[in-house]
């Protein structure tokens, strides 16, 4: 072999070795196709003075660059600065009000006092950024240039010190009104997410956005006054014993826990198999009562064996092979709600079970549910990694879904957002919508339909008032004594202005209220239709037209779209697709296109058109059915025969019956002496129509009085270029009894379902039922008014 050949071989070997090394490194470091799943590990120490609402903290942040870019700066969130003044982006967009409160006190802020990388102090090089709205007063994002570029696969260690004024809890985080309860969320300087090819994804804290962070680990030590000992809850698990000295208690938490860091997640297929988290929250309240229970899969499997079988069958698992790990469920309850601890735990475990079998097991050893103090209730209803806040009240029942609904939903976020870490700024619907879909499915399976209550001074009575009160404005209000406007100087008076106790007496609720039960899945439809055509679902969270559009498009609309997707692909492919997506994107940051691709891959279906129509546009659909039927009219007139035209007269008897009619058509009786009249065929005119640009394949079912059923499908292709279809039904001896569009009720998208069905008869019970309720309500209401007169 000559020198040239040797050199070529050597070069080839070197290149091959280099590629192999790079591939190994990429596999080792988890550098996957998404180019944006870096790792951030935090070690934090914080000293908190609740009475003064101050915090001093230090953190050591180790960031591993898993992108393919060389990164020369770091961007951070300082979320608490959203509550620093009325001109922050958060408060500006919220109109100065948070959860109904005008924020004019209880301000909070964070100030970084030191950022060091090695021996370089960088605090003076901090630059505040406003990448979304350019608002200079907003200080929730800053960047700092790093002394050295971090190469792909490289690490940087940053030591950060900061001090903070903790806000009064008005949204999610801070100290309660009475100064005892703390819920600390996004409370430390938190790194943004670097996305290869895009740069730092570090949005401002908007009124309608949540969070986005890199997966990693947390080692957090909290220093609090001694009264909080044994009353602290946090992400992850407590490590070691708390230390009490000099009136202070020091507690350490690891998230994930030590045990979890060594646990191999059986579900994660696209990234590291070791559990990670992307945030850390904690709570403390000297009054809370802590209860624990171990979630055991077998207990729930015994209750819902068919559900487990369904999932195993859908995903091709061996029967009996599906299992979930034990999880310790810890509840921190307020003393007055201690009796509801079991309900919180039950709802949490329901989420762990159903979400676990549908989307993959919860991989951590513990989850914590927090019942916020009354004076800190604005912290309720929010999710953080392995810890979430619920929210309840006195005098509730499970059937009213409080606190069950919020508990299932927030625990569900451990899966959507906690494990599959979508960008909540730019695609909030990827977690909120998916979670809304799943929590409705859990609630209806475990608790049945939701029952409405009417509260009288906090005391609930089942049911709702049917009809509205007498008008109370203008002359009507004056004549009925409800509201009399006496002008600017005297103001308005309400002689008969009602309070809760008087309302109870006026309403006589046991006698006059009507039961109201709601299937949460259909409530999702109602939510979707509240703003069906304002914005596409796939919109940045802060760019929806208004908060209503944000809520509709992030929560119920994606839920409805997913639910209806099952009608397109079928139950099994749907489940397979969702599970595949969940497994593939655990501990990673998916965007909508990642979900579309992953779902198609997992389900084996190609529903890109569906995703494009439903998530990327504001297209809607409204089917309707119209039915007419009549007996075949007799042949009369001049009929040509062998001998030419001859007159044919109408046969004696009743006029041909036509529908729609309120009474069944009466067949004329044969005259005496005449042979029985031949059976008359019915002819049918059944037309299904579509409004809206959305074309979805839909079934139509026609049932006849004889019991026969004919089914039709109006395909997508057939709908192209037309918005109606006359069903090809041959004349027959029986009348149509009913016609149903989408008989299995798989679609939850139709704008108006009142015209999706037709019956030959009329329901008499419902009109009587609701008019009776309205009448009885008013009879007693008027008695109350008459007793005021005398």
């Amino acid at each position: 072999m000559g020198t040239r050949n040797f050199q070529g071989l050597a070069l080839g070997l070197v290149c091959g070795l280099g590629l192999a090394t790079l591939g190994t490194a990429r596999a080792t470091l988890g550098m996957l196709q998404d180019n944006r799943s870096s790792r951030a590990d935090y070690q934090i120490f914080a000293r908190v003075e609740p009475s003064e609402r101050t915090l001093e903290g230090k953190e050591t942040l180790t960031w591993l660059n898993r992108s393919e870019d060389r990164v020369g700066e770091a961007w951070f969130h300082l979320h608490h600065n959203a509550f620093s003044n009325s001109h922050s982006t958060h408060l500006w967009e919220a109109g100065g009000k948070l959860r109904g409160h005008t924020v004019d006190s209880g301000w909070g802020w964070q100030e970084v006092t030191s950022i060091r990388v090695g021996e370089h102090e960088l605090v003076d090089a901090m630059v505040f950024r406003a990448p979304d709205d350019g608002r200079e007063e907003d200080r929730t994002v800053f960047s700092v240039k790093l002394p050295e570029v971090v190469p792909p696969g490289g690490r940087v260690v940053m030591e950060i010190e900061w001090k903070a004024q903790l806000p009064r809890v008005r949204r999610r985080t801070g100290v309660s009104g009475d100064g005892n309860f703390l819920l600390m969320a996004h409370w430390f300087p938190k790194l943004g997410v670097y996305e290869g090819g895009r740069g730092w994804n570090c949005h401002q804290f908007h009124a309608s956005t949540e969070f986005y962070g890199d997966f990693g680990s947390y080692d957090v030590t909290l220093d609090l006054p001694e009264e909080y000992a044994d009353h602290i809850g946090a992400s992850g698990v407590q490590s070691g014993e708390a230390t009490i000295a000099d009136g202070r208690v020091t507690t350490r938490y690891l998230a994930p826990s030590s045990a979890d860091r060594g646990y191999r997640d059986p579900v994660a297929s696209g990234a590291t198999p070791r559990p990670r988290v992307h945030g850390f929250a904690w709570t403390a309240d000297p009054d809370n009562i802590i209860t624990e229970h171990i979630f055991k899969f077998q207990d729930w499997k015994d209750r819902y064996p068919e559900e487990v079988s369904r999932v195993e069958d859908a995903t091709g698992m061996t029967p009996g092979s599906l299992t979930l790990r034990d999880v310790r469920v810890v509840s921190l309850m307020q003393p007055e709600h201690a009796g509801q601890a079991d309900r919180h735990i039950e709802a949490t475990e329901a989420a762990l079970f159903f979400y676990g079998i549908w989307f993959g097991e919860y991989p951590y050893e513990q989850v914590t549910v927090v019942d916020p103090a009354f004076s800190g209730k604005a912290a309720g209803g929010m999710e953080y990694p392995t810890l979430f806040t619920s929210g309840t009240s006195l005098f509730t029942e499970a059937a009213s879904y409080r606190p069950e609904s919020v508990t299932v939903h927030e625990c569900g976020h451990q899966f959507w957002y906690g494990l599959v870490g979508n960008n909540e700024y730019e695609a909030a619907w990827l977690d909120e919508g998916f979670n809304s879909f799943a929590d409705s499915e859990v609630l209806v399976r475990v608790y049945g339909p939701q029952r409405s209550v009417t509260k009288y001074s906090g005391l609930p009575v089942w049911g709702k008032r049917v009809s509205s009160d007498p008008a109370r404005t203008g002359l009507a209000g004056a004549l009925t004594g409800q509201y009399i406007d006496l002008g600017k100087k005297l103001g308005a008076v309400s002689p008969l202005g009602l309070t809760s106790f008087l309302s109870f007496w006026r309403d006589q609720p046991l006698l006059t209220l009507a039961e109201n039960q709601t299937d949460p899945r259909w409530s999702d439809r109602t939510g979707y239709l509240s703003a069906a055509d304002v914005d596409p679902v796939a919109t940045n969270a802060w760019e929806y037209r208004d908060r209503s559009s944000y809520r509709t498009n992030s929560y119920p609309r994606p839920a409805v779209v997913l639910r209806s997707l099952q009608a397109i692909v079928g139950d099994k492919p749907f489940l397979s697709g969702m599970k595949h997506y969940s497994a593939q994107w655990r501990y990673r940051h998916p965007y909508p296109e990642d979900f579309y691709a992953s779902f198609n891959e997992g389900s084996g279906a190609d529903v890109g058109w569906y995703f494009a129509d439903l998530f990327e546009t504001t297209a809607t659909v409204d089917w309707s059915i119209n039915v007419a039927q009549s007996e075949t009219p007799a042949l009369i007139g001049m009929v040509q025969g062998a001998d030419g035209f001859a007159m044919v007269e109408a046969p004696k008897g009743a006029e041909p019956a036509t529908e729609p009619a309120t009474e069944p058509a009466v067949e004329p009786a044969p005259s005496e002496g005449e042979p029985d009249a031949p059976p008359v065929d019915w002819i049918y005119d059944v037309v299904v129509s579509r409004k809206g640009t959305l074309r979805l394949p839909v079934q139509i079912e026609v049932q006849f009085t004889g019991g026969d059923i004919e089914s039709f499908e109006w395909t997508r292709e057939a709908q192209e270029g037309t918005n109606w279809w006359r069903l090809p039904i041959e004349p027959g001896p029986n009348k149509i009894k009913r016609v149903l569009v989408d008989p299995a009720r798989r679609y939850y998208l139709d704008v108006n379902m009142a015209d999706n069905q037709w019956y030959s008869g009329k329901d008499l019970v419902a009109p009587l039922r609701w008019s009776e309720r309205a009448f009885t309500q008013y009879a007693h209401l008027l008695h109350w008014y008459s007793s005021l007169g005398g």
Binding site: H101, D104, G177, N180, H337, A373, F374, S375, S393, L394, G458, G463, S467, S468, P470, L479, T480, G481, V493, S494, P495, L496, T499, L502, L511, A514, N516, T518, D519, W522, R525, T526, R738, R745, M753, A754, D755, Q757, G761, D763, L764, V765, A766, P767, L768, R769, W770, S771, E772, A774, F775, Y778, L781, L782, H783, Y785, S787, L788, G789, G790
Partner: protein, 365 residues
Amino acid sequence: MGRTYLTDEPVPTGPLLFLRSIRKVVERPPLWLITWSLIALTALPVGVVWNTWFRDAVAHRYQPDAAVDAGDAFAWDDIAYSLTASFTHDHAEGLSNLNKATANLGAVLAFAAILLGVFAAGGWLQVILERTHGHSLRRFFLGGARYFWRFLRLLLLSAVLLALWNKLIYGDLWDKYVLGGLFEVPSSDWKTLENQSSEWGMRRLMWLRDGCHALGFALILAWGTFARTRMALLDGTSVLKAGLLTGFAILFHPIKTLRPLFSIFLVELVLVTLLLGALSRELEDVLKDSPSQGIVAAMLVVGLVGLMVREILRGARYHASVKVSQEIVRRPAQQPDPWRAVGGPGGPQYPVGEGEGEGETYVSL
């Protein structure tokens, strides 16, 4: 037995007066049947409007007779028991218009009911005071017309008092002196009470406020009942004078005046609110599994029976207030009734009969 001022008959006003009053009113079915039917007829237009709307909305689009099989997919739209989320959404505009129409109609009907109440109060007082043995209905209508304008003026005075009370309890004074002064709630938390360390703390403050208002409201209504009775008893025309004197009367005889009314309230609470209410709920449960026109009709009957009981108890309130007033209301300082010995027109008058004696049941038109 208490001392009487205006009659020589013993008038028991002990703790069980309310039972006697209820019995006496029950013995006059034409009267409470009239008031009951007038209220029911006043409410009827609402029922008619709702029935008409629902018949049109339901038409051929909802499953007939709500005969729903278990697990039937169409159960999603069974509206005989509960108005589903879908129905409520799909008919949102229609329901909104229906409710607006009901609200407007309801205001007119409520005003009519108030006037009916004014009239009925006069009717009850006329019949109770006259102790008629016949022509009760005629006397009822006579009394209603006779006292109508006086009682209407009293209604206006009552409205003023209720408005003042409402302002006192729910206005700035309560916030400043009770919440801020007594309970040290900072002004920024007066509306939400979020400085309270527990929901119970908040709830107690709310109940205190609501309870004070309800109590005052009830006292004003009780005062109105006795003021009307005084005016009828003395045939007075001055609303202010009657109101003032009634106020003092209640102040000096709180137990005697308020006990029978409170007892009647308890009877209403138990019979109507709780017992009939529970029965209505049972029927609702039956409706869930077996919706039928019969069950709905039964619920209607229960509601009407409840209304009937309430009308009876309203009459009983006036009977009790008359009996108490006859004991505590002093005759005006004037010459004794000159006709007492001589009798009215037509010569000396002799007692015709025992009137409302114990054990007698007398029914007349």
